[in-house]
């Protein structure tokens, strides 16, 4: 249980996927114009990262490892993730139209979010169990969500600020991300194992 808490805090805060590992930058900058759309995107990311972590663990341990085909990892993981995103989209469209309206447009974009494939590979390298992988995926998604929602709130205010013409758009967004990353650097001194009493 405490091991899971360690994974939760370290994946979400200390090694924040966006601001420390630098995974998922394109959607981070692309879908952060408003807090509302950023929230929709982050819900979809948390969901897909959790499910993808569990499914890729199963693929790794029940298909690739027994058949000695670890070299097919990249190919099989990305296919599983692409298929998974399609499947989730179809299930949500049938079962919950209101959720589909909220998440629908974000789901197809997630296949190319490198945080999803990234978490699958990081879980494999860390030798996590199935449960640990799922927690790590959820925590990574939550950390990404925290970062994008904070960033969207900053960008909403930034629209009122007089930014030089050459810095408008991407450049100022990147500099702002840098400052946000500096704030998250504070977590690098956070001793997670001691915090949860391990």
């Amino acid at each position: 249980m405490r091991q899971l808490l360690v994974i939760l805090f370290s994946q979400a805060l200390v090694n924040n996927f966006m601001l420390s590992r630098i995974l998922g930058t394109c959607p981070f900058i692309g879908v952060s114009q408003q807090v509302e759309t950023a929230t929709g995107m982050s819900l979809a990311v948390v969901f897909v990262m959790t499910v993808a972590s569990a499914i890729t663990w199963l693929v790794q341990n029940f298909i690739l490892n027994p058949l000695n085909m670890v070299y097919l990892q990249t190919v099989s993981f990305i296919l599983v993730i692409a298929a998974l995103v399609q499947l989730i989209e179809m299930v949500i469209r049938k079962s919950s139209p209101s959720l589909y309206r909220a998440l629908g447009i974000y789901l197809p974009l997630i296949t190319t979010n490198c945080a999803v494939l990234g978490v699958a590979i990081i879980n494999y390298q860390a030798n996590y169990t199935l449960l640990e992988s799922a927690v790590s995926g959820a925590a990574g998604g939550l950390g990404w969500a925290l970062a994008i929602i904070l960033f969207a709130a900053i960008r909403e205010r930034q629209r009122l600020a007089p930014v030089p013409r050459a810095m408008q758009g991407f450049p100022i967004a990147l500099v702002t991300t840098g400052l946000l990353a500096m704030a998250f650097l504070g977590f690098s001194g956070f001793d997670v194992a001691r915090f949860v009493g391990l």
Partner: protein, 209 residues
């Protein structure tokens, strides 16, 4: 489009990083040292050329409804080739680039070129487009890391795989290690992008368009 314009297009006019702003994660994460930047850039170039060639050859066979999964399989195959080759011959570079080598598969530049160029053009033009885009990516990575490497470590052109320790410009204790953190990456890339925008704007004002 002639092969030559397809080639030069990627280097400046549609530079994937500074003009199209695609593939940001590897850009910021690996631009810590010039050798890493060039290694990453060349790996991506190989994948781009290979996937562009195969996709352009198969463009009439791939049904348009399932083209994205087909493109991804082709791209992932080339990424696996690069990943295993790099692990065998350049182990230290592979270690430093880490998770970003398999992640070339989700680099938006590659899928974007497959979708926007290779699936509509012949193999010759597609190879040139892949080369141009890959070289543009490599040059942009080199440009960012040539600023970050000396500021962050005091050393320039260090390449551990080639047994070269680099040229020390100033002692390590004066180096600003924050530049090697993601913080420095985001801010320096943001400022460089602003500079490129400024230069483009000045040029456009001069031509009056």
């Amino acid at each position: 489009m002639s092969p030559l314009t397809a080639f030069t297009n990627g280097i400046y006019k549609e530079n994937p990083i500074f003009r199209l702003v695609l593939g940001l994660c590897p850009t910021i994460a690996v631009s810590l040292a010039v050798s890493n930047g060039i290694g990453m850039g060349l790996a991506a170039t190989f994948v781009l050329v290979g996937s562009n060639l195969i996709i352009s050859l198969l463009r009439k066979l791939i049904p348009s409804e399932i083209r994205i999964p087909c493109f991804i399989v082709v791209i992932a195959t080339f990424v696996t080739i690069v990943d295993l080759t790099m692990e065998a011959y350049l182990p230290q570079l592979h270690q430093v680039l880490g998770v970003f080598v398999p992640l070339i598969v989700v680099n938006c530049i590659i899928l974007a070129r497959a979708e926007a160029f290779a699936s509509k053009n012949g193999p010759g033009a597609s190879i040139m487009d892949g080369l141009g885009m890959g070289l543009g990516f490599t040059l942009a990575l080199a440009a960012i890391s040539i600023i970050r490497e000396p500021l962050g470590t005091g050393v320039i052109f260090a390449a551990p795989d080639l047994g070269f320790d680099g040229i020390r410009l100033f002692p390590a204790e004066y180096a600003a290690s924050v530049v090697t953190q993601p913080v420095g990456g985001f801010i320096i890339f943001g400022l460089l992008l602003g500079l490129v925008n400024l230069i483009t704007m000045k040029k456009n004002d001069k031509h009056g368009c």
